[in-house]
Symmetry: C3
């Protein structure tokens, strides 16, 4: 169950810089490439001639050329030419709206007529000099909604990531979930605690004393179809937490773009935008590496969970207060998918 | 086709000493672990909260803690606690009777109310100072009954293991099969022959002359659900064979506990209990290594056989006198499974 | 969709010299081996005793012995003997007509009564001293007819093999396809061009000047069930091309025997028979290695094409003039399969 008339992150620019990329998104096999003027383009990964994968071809004069017999495909899915052939009657293939923005390639896998680039969420951290970003991507063999659950309930940090970002105070602090329009917000605040190792390192990197008691915040924001941005950070205790002066805090956004591949697999784009020392590229790389290791710990947990759920499709799961973020996100997806299907019918 | 109201070997103690073990047995995914007082415990490998695999968690104060959000599961399948939650209404999961005995962890995958530890077969060689034991485990992608056939018809030794325990005299000696209650006994005796290399090595280790003619015996005993213990050995020819004085023979029990995983895969616990030089641990290890190599030769044969049978489900196999042990073991399983299902209905 | 009453290449002699070979051909699992007088033989890879794979056994006195319990199978599918057993009533298994000829083992997977060795095509290059041959084999996860398409439309060389045998002149030269009885012939001639690297190397090896303009030819001949022999070569321009004097040309046959394994996988026997410098074994090996690398470039293309077609079974492909060779070959296969099934009914 996933929305199709919406923008998903398809890939990062480096994945298509040298050659086309074939990637399945929401059940659609798509060839991504850089066309004329380096503009990103996306068409069905199916050559109308004999069905070869266009992503195995190459780009010439801004068009994707099939690597089998040289059919030249246009960005709009219409064949441009083929050696010694008249191509006027060739059937069209689908083309997909794509936009390169904020350091990502965004794709609209549904009805192209409805695609509106203005619907791509504004990402301040991606355009401001005050922020630095680093991230990566994982492929997971599980329903993308299990990843949404994971990120909307950070209780799991205590158990899955005990030596980096977890700490028992997470468990012991109440979690609050509410809706802001189509945004599900779930937050947790801990006061007068010790920063866990990952954040203590960040404090040190920002010139703060990692031994001092801090106030810690986690504010997860889900927006459809599956974007989750989490404000995280610590400030010296009693200085206002999230709202404290930059001089006494480390503040960042955990970035999660989750893109369905099939019903039971997805692409997970993760990263961290940091609101301190934005020019320290070595720090960016160190955080990226640490975060990558931490987030890799979730993969086995989620894939085993998927296997359990696939084996027991009828078993009902609990929906506790800590699950409220995930549950409300799922409900919103469900409602929007129903609307989408109603429009189709 | 397998019995469920019975004891199977689930694992060996070393497999759960450091952390929980997730293993599928008779179609049930089970988490095994050491609870309070180091007692072994087993519950469904499915967290009632969101379906995570409990076996990926850890043990705390004798209880299994889910590694996802910290639900503490009791040995009886009832949730003990969860941070910030009332757990009284949480659904129970299955727990499984388990017993640690004779160097194995035994599990009862069926109706727990019927489990009786007294039904675990007595294994004298596992408790007596006069015996030494070494063994290992293999996973096979074939019906566990193909392994029963294999072990109840040792003719195959001549062909699968020609350089270790096989010899043409096995083929040429009649095999005798009979029932003793629920035990299928199939035996073969060879007189005045040369010991094959594996047994010649055993003779040498026991201070006997491996060049002398011997009487050799093989007495396989199948008991439900799938235990096979095989008396094997050689004695100087003419001294009474199996009943000969310990001074002129080497005598051992090949131990085979066969545990279904699915209809077409199983766990195979193999080993050898030896009735000579019990304190020679180096000898134990040498025999274990050799036996492991010999038994590994069967894996490819049985898995290819399974593929052939899966491709030709309607083809009838021959049932010769040499197959009688396996055939009777299968019939007994079939009868007991029918009884079990009758009781269920 | 494949013919069964016909000869396919099953393997090369070296594959059965040391031990039996188990290989699936047209859906049939077959054990190939050398029987008495080194004669090749082939039987179902299924022991009538308990279904073991006979190909895991060994040959003794010209018969295949089952590696499980020693049943001796005859080349005709009738059990010859088994230790301590009367085998008169044992069910027969299929045996398959096999012929060793032209450096290949040929098998007839269908009705043995119809097998006629005279139907194996005559291969002059395999028996004449004037020719040298080198080749290899690949396994592909795609319908064997995709390989036929590939070889009957050499346009793909320009795109898949641009640095070896491809050149834009291929695209720009018209292709001609016609039937000669049951042979589909598709040919292309290019005049006054530069030899591409692979052929330039061949010219050099044959003492010709690779810089000189040449006439190039490609004449593909498909014969049922799936043999494709392609006359390829270049001659100094204006000397008659294919018919030019041997002193001014390099001439060879690309050899392709394509054997279905299942509906979506096949064995591909490829090679090159060369009509110059036949005694230069080092040259044979060099060409074999180069050709192997070139042909390996097709594997990924064809397997991705198969995945696309499997995902879109209803999508119609284009049939252009360049596809005519493949299309006519497929039509012929289809017609012959229908005839075969009519005879069966
Ligand atoms: S399959 Fe793409 S050009 Fe032929
Ligand atoms: S899934 Fe086990 S505690 Fe949440
Ligand atoms: S299975 Fe072949 S001899 Fe028993």
């Amino acid at each position: 169950m996933y929305l199709k008339n919406t923008w998903y992150v398809a890939c990062t620019p480096d994945e298509i810089n040298d050659k086309p990329l074939g990637r399945q998104i929401c059940g659609e096999r798509i060839a991504f490439y850089r066309g004329s003027n380096n503009q990103v383009a996306a068409v069905e990964d199916f050559c109308p001639h004999r069905g070869a994968a266009l992503s195995l071809g190459f780009v010439q004069n801004g068009n994707l050329v099939c690597g089998y017999h040289g059919l030249t495909m246009g960005c709009d899915g219409k064949t441009v030419s083929m050696p010694m052939q008249r191509v006027g009657g060739f059937p069209c293939i689908k083309s997909y709206p794509v936009v390169e923005q904020y350091g990502f390639i965004w794709v609209w896998p549904g009805d192209a007529a409805l695609a509106n680039p203005a619907l791509i969420p504004h990402l301040e951290w991606a355009v401001s000099d005050e922020w630095a970003y680093g991230g990566g991507m994982y492929h997971l063999n599980c329903d993308y909604r299990l990843m949404i659950d994971n990120l909307m309930d950070l209780t799991h940090e205590t158990y899955v990531h005990p030596e980096s970002i977890g700490q028992t105070e997470i468990d012991e602090s109440p979690v609050n979930t509410h809706l802001e329009g189509e945004t599900v917000v779930t937050s947790r605040f801990m006061e007068g605690i010790q920063a866990p190792p990952f954040l203590a390192n960040a404090m040190r990197a920002n010139g703060l004393d990692p031994e001092k008691p801090v106030d810690r915040w986690q504010i997860s924001r889900f927006t459809p179809p599956s974007h989750i941005l989490i404000n995280v950070g610590v400030a010296y205790a009693g200085h206002g937490g999230f709202d404290a002066d930059p001089a006494v805090k480390v503040s960042a956004v955990v970035v999660d773009f989750i893109t369905p591949e099939t019903e039971t697999s997805h692409w997970y784009f993760w990263g961290m935008a940091r609101h301190f020392k934005p020019n320290d590229t070595e720090l960016t790389e160190r955080i990226r590496k640490n975060q990558g290791e931490i987030f890799a710990q979730d993969l086995g947990v989620l894939e085993a969970q998927q296997q359990n759920l696939s084996n027991h499709p009828d078993r009902r799961l609990l929906m506790l207060n800590i699950d409220s973020g995930g549950v409300q996100a799922r409900r919103m997806i469900e409602r929007l998918v129903q609307e989408e299907q109603k429009e189709l019918a």
